[in-house]
Symmetry: C2
Amino acid sequence: MSINTKEFYSILASKMEASAIREILKLVQNPEVISLAGGMPDPITFPVEEIKEISQNIFNKKSAQALQYSNTEGLPELRRCILDHLAKDGNNGELENIIISSGSQQGLDLVGKTFLSPGDVAIVELPSYLAALNAFYSYGGELVGIPMDDEGMQMDILEEKLTQLKNEGKKVKFIYTISNFQNPAGVTMSLARRKKIIEIAHKFNVFIVEDNPYEKLRFEGEPTPSIYSLEKNGSVISLGTFSKILCPGLRLAWILGNKEIIRKIAILKQATDLCTSILSQLIACEYCQSGKLEENIKSNVQIYKKKRDTMLNALEKYFPKETVWTKPQGGFFVVATLPEYIDTGEMFKEAIEENVAYVPGAPFFADRKGQNTMRLSFCFPSAEDIDEGIKRLGKVIKKRIKN
Amino acid sequence: MSINTKEFYSILASKMEASAIREILKLVQNPEVISLAGGMPDPITFPVEEIKEISQNIFNKKSAQALQYSNTEGLPELRRCILDHLAKDGNNGELENIIISSGSQQGLDLVGKTFLSPGDVAIVELPSYLAALNAFYSYGGELVGIPMDDEGMQMDILEEKLTQLKNEGKKVKFIYTISNFQNPAGVTMSLARRKKIIEIAHKFNVFIVEDNPYEKLRFEGEPTPSIYSLEKNGSVISLGTFSKILCPGLRLAWILGNKEIIRKIAILKQATDLCTSILSQLIACEYCQSGKLEENIKSNVQIYKKKRDTMLNALEKYFPKETVWTKPQGGFFVVATLPEYIDTGEMFKEAIEENVAYVPGAPFFADRKGQNTMRLSFCFPSAEDIDEGIKRLGKVIKKRIKN
């Protein structure tokens, strides 16, 4: 006899399925496959020697602290470092405005847990970051998607949708936006739209959750002030992370916002994981204090810019004329759009047979459209692999093009 | 104008309050206060030199892996090490039976998320681990408490309660037990009760969640086989942690159980924090592979045994004859029970004025009783501080004793 597990799952757990990326990455274990799927940083960007030296220092001087439990909100010295880093771009806050999270995914999870009861609405971009959608789904959030254009989320449609949801008696809790080099679309929200989204959020009394992992990875053009820095009523929650500017392995990110919200998030985080690794926090803190973070970011930007160029050049060379793709000014990703009759989910198997992987676009769309899109990452593979991968993929797509 | 945050919280988030321990620990910042409150291991038990050396080795040889994202289930080599460690006590499993969690608190959170919808019942011991209760509350679980005696949870009352809940049409999802050196009560469940709880769980078709952080910290007597090792239908989920046998700072624990449940937990963990720090996992893995874990556990047992003895001796010396306390054979905690007319929550302020802290017992009781109990930790303070702390506390209590 064995127990029937399914009847034991919570209502929400029973709805959660393995993500598409997850299943895909399992297929990509074969070393012959060039993966343009994952969003992993290039390890060449990790300041290994510095981290090694810092960790020695910590074990020599602070081992009793570094290997112990710590407080839920995170190391005050690290929060100060992050606040100083953020203040350079006008993102101001005090210690009570910031909490450390165990990676930005935990930030998204805690945002979901703080705001969403089953049936509450979160507005998201079409497309949006898959794992954010999953975090919100996991609390029963209903996700309503708003299309983007070259300036980001379309504000007329957002306003229309919010009016409609209000009339339907739906409770909208927040608008989730990845304002810079959006994942997956690569779009950056224009200044005019940033001002407009604040106006709309105030009018409809909803929070804005601004997810900003790629902000510092700008290859060209001038940075736009964050929505957080432009808003003055405490209704923007801003998420940032060390994963793309230092390394993901430390599992360190932060949530910046309204003190009351941060306090509530701390209470929830305590029940979720007690505290984030203090060893990781001490390492990141000493690294920031060494003054090398800004320098490291600058060198990373050069590395990723070259890779972006390699990918855009390869797309020009190898992709059929029936396809279009984004030209991101920063971040990790390009989205390619194929003719509507090509389903990138269906095509995926053929791509794997040609030893190249990507992420089919549909799961990024809260409305389950975007079947003819794909996300292509230039962050992890080498320049040679990017060129060869796009070449292989071009070949796969061309077979499906109708004349 | 500023936003009214309260109207935005999810139903469950709005019910979550800061925990008693948390608020207490804030009061204990004053270095004059001897804290018998926290459950922090003694840093003397951390194998600092080994961890330092291992981490150097990792940065030299595996930095690209150690600082990168990793898989959600955890490093296979580490899971193998844990399985080998557990198999010595008859806790068997394959790789698919185990997942790494970011500390045992995340294990409890994921158990809550996997099983509990609002209104679902979890059975817990009276008293039980505060942060586990909070994790289950945070998913809307209704907690029903079962009293314990010297052999652990009272099985006749458990069976009665389950019958009653069944008749009321309540869905009971699992029974949560800390089977060894229970937190806070210090009790270890007897073999007969372990067999009985399995029989009852099968009869009523409920899971057992066996939380086992202190199992290896046995000062005397023979170990009892775990409930997990005794059960054969895959309806026991077992939680273990490195926090008490290596160090808490790595934030590493594990969940062992039914493959289907572990797979579901992995899907939920992915939306919660993507993955646990691979740097931490590599450190723990090399430490286990070095063969030093068992040796370290043995030396820790000696350290904590002495501290337990110090506390029991001090209690004899300084506590009034109207009080009783547990004599745990392992773990970190003693629970003292005072006359019913003394409320340890109310008395706490006086204790702080005498520069000693403890945790009032009531929050550990799902039925909110136990106001005349207190948890006393002997894990962190020095022998001198244990003696002096109990002396101070005895003085505070004596003032409240009625003649």
